[in-house]
Symmetry: C2
Subunit: 144 residues, 2 copies
């Protein structure tokens, strides 16, 4: 399955290692992360040679080619909020993950169009992500 | 004109005085800010008695009753990103304001569906907001 992964870039990179862990796990389960640039430590250098419009268009195009969106929403980020809303508008399944105890927006916590899960230790992410992706595969199988 | 004002809540309240300045200015020009709760210093106390779904539904309802959205996007915020995208999806005019030099998301800077303006001193906000609102009034007059 093609997955769009969303995490903070200009909002702050403190959780980059969690983003990397998540993307590696998703790929190890046989899926493809179309937005792998999000977990590149050199991303800001690479994007400095692109225009803002090129970055926007790349991300919206990749979202349009993805089957679902998985977002880490712990760090406040306008881009992540924008991408979650874009995925909801496209009727894509959305999973939002956050560190338990963080101040997550009501636009995520109160949103019936997204699956929201808190986690305390990194290892919990495996079962949450597996459960989400498995539920989609069941849905696709039942619909086909 | 009914205006939805969007600013960071759980992402951080450091620019609350700027949000208050903006809303007071918009109202002083004869418009109505439907989301005035965003600039209430006691907002988090008030919202603590509401469910996350109630907050989400209130904000989306108010957005649906607004003619345009004005967002202060300096502080990273998932809610602000979500609301800007929701307004774009509804074909609403959107103005995004940011302090010059801040790291604004490409989902804002590279987005042809929103008007984006940096400012250095607070007084610049008056002319930016006035220009945006006047352009909408001209558009509405020409279409009526």
């Amino acid at each position: 399955m093609k997955v769009f992964f969303s995490g903070s870039i200009r909002g702050g990179r403190e959780l980059l290692s969690v983003y990397q862990y998540l993307c590696t796990f998703i790929v190890s389960e046989g899926h493809e992360v179309l937005s792998e640039h999000v977990v590149d430590p050199q991303l800001e250098d690479i994007e400095s040679s692109m225009t803002e419009q090129e970055i926007f268009t790349r991300d919206m195009d990749l979202l349009g080619h993805s089957a679902c969106l998985i977002a880490e929403v712990t760090i406040p980020s306008i881009g992540v909020g924008y991408e979650v809303c874009s995925a909801v508008q496209r009727n894509m399944p959305v999973l939002c993950l956050y560190r338990s105890g963080s101040h997550v927006s009501s636009m995520i916590l109160g949103n019936r169009n997204v699956v929201v899960q808190g986690y305390s230790i990194r290892e919990e992410l495996d079962s949450i992500v597996l459960g989400f992706l498995a539920s989609l595969q069941v849905k696709y199988r039942d619909n086909s």
